[in-house]
């Protein structure tokens, strides 16, 4: 499994280069960006296009069997921590069996309890979401604590505690909808494994108007294959070297 993880870059506030701790059974897609002190527990799935950067707020914890879908961004403010279930402090704590769906933004300090569902493009920032909550799409949860088992409808903006306290409980139809979204993700999972096998990926560029030209190979390819040193990288390396970094074996 080719996983692209990098140690957090040295920043003025933290010279500690921490590396993600990833359980063997977790699947971190190579087209994802996983940086810094992030604990990834067993059977976690981290999809392509995700950005999980514990380079400012730190550390992060992602619990067992949790699912982080495409395009999710997880980041944290330098200051501000939540207390995880292990009584330690985290910038972002995500419990077990949580589903964070496409394009969601989890910005620490943030705590997301076990079995939560965070819908497409929703934001959780400076908030605590109790166990078993279902947050639908395009919602904003900020500066509040949401009790366990609550439902947040699509488009809701929950930014004060009175609003959070008035939220309804999750019902069966909510759960069915959330389960359906998770199912779609399971189908795509098969695609990720395929992605590791270059024989399986073969996108075809086809000129639909001119059959004579036949099938052309696309220029677009899985990014795993295209890590070469170009001019930009060279000049960046020169910069780092002049700042005193060294390259050693």
């Amino acid at each position: 499994m080719a996983v692209r993880t990098i140690a957090a870059p040295p920043t003025p506030w933290s010279r500690n280069l921490a590396e993600p701790q990833i359980d063997e059974s977790a699947y971190v897609h190579s087209f994802s960006n996983l940086i810094g002190d992030v604990t990834v527990r067993p059977n976690v799935l981290i999809a392509p296009g995700t950005s999980i950067r514990a380079d400012e707020g730190t550390p992060f914890y992602i619990g067992e069997s949790t699912n982080i879908q495409d395009g999710v961004v997880i980041h944290g403010l330098e200051k501000g921590r939540v207390v995880g279930d292990d009584s330690k402090e985290y910038s972002v704590w995500i419990g077990k069996e949580v589903c964070i769906t496409h394009m969601a933004l989890i910005h620490g300090p943030a705590y997301i309890g076990d079995e939560c569902f965070i819908g497409f493009r929703s934001t959780v920032f400076n908030a605590r979401v109790g166990r078993g909550c279902i947050i639908m799409m395009h919602a904003l949860i900020q500066d509040v604590e949401i009790p366990p088992g609550k439902y947040v409808p699509s488009g809701a903006v929950i930014t004060n505690q009175q609003q959070a306290d008035r939220l309804p409980d999750v019902n069966q139809s909510d759960r069915t909808f959330a389960d359906h979204v998770v199912e779609i993700n399971e189908a795509l999972r098969a695609g990720y494994r395929c992605a590791e096998d270059s024989a399986c990926i073969n996108p075809i560029r086809e000129n639909l108007n001119d059959v004579k030209e036949g099938i052309k190979e696309t220029q677009y390819k899985n990014s795993v294959e295209t890590m070469s040193v170009n001019l930009d990288i060279r000049s960046s390396v020169r910069n780092l070297l002049s700042q005193g970094c060294t390259i050693s074996a």
């Binding site: 395009h138 409808p153 189908a187 639909l208 990014s223």
Partner: protein
């Protein structure tokens, strides 16, 4: 708008997985993710324009972006559906298992195809 903004992409490639066909004359910006689950497909037609950071996840059917359609940055399209000729989908829009008719313009940050429960406002104060 309370949605997460257009996110920068750090890789200049696009990620393609599964049965994906991109017409020669279509334009696909960097950092996009085009994924078709098994038994599904994605077709990007002639002159279509797919903005930065778009995610298309085809599942249980096909996602088809017809001739000249434009998807703004950060658009998310899940499931199966067709974006009609010359339709124009504003940035950060989410489309869940729906199609869009040709020539339609959708404003940025829209949410289409969401059939989840909505809460009726009580005393005009909503939630």
């Amino acid at each position: 708008m309370h949605l997460p903004p257009v996110q920068p992409v750090s890789l200049s490639e696009i990620y393609v997985s599964g049965d994906v066909i991109i017409h020669d004359s279509a334009v696909v910006a960097p950092g996009t993710i085009l994924q078709a689950a098994p038994n599904s497909r994605i077709i990007i037609g002639p002159g279509a324009c797919i903005g930065m950071g778009v995610i298309l996840n085809a599942c249980q059917g096909a996602i088809e972006i017809e001739t000249g359609a434009v998807l703004g940055s950060g658009v998310l399209m899940i499931g199966a559906g067709k974006i009609g000729k010359n339709a124009c989908i504003g940035s950060l829009t989410t489309i869940y298992n729906r199609s869009v008719e040709p020539m339609v313009i959708i404003s940025a940050g829209s949410l289409i195809g969401d059939s989840s429960r909505q809460i009726n406002p009580v005393n005009g104060n909503g939630i």
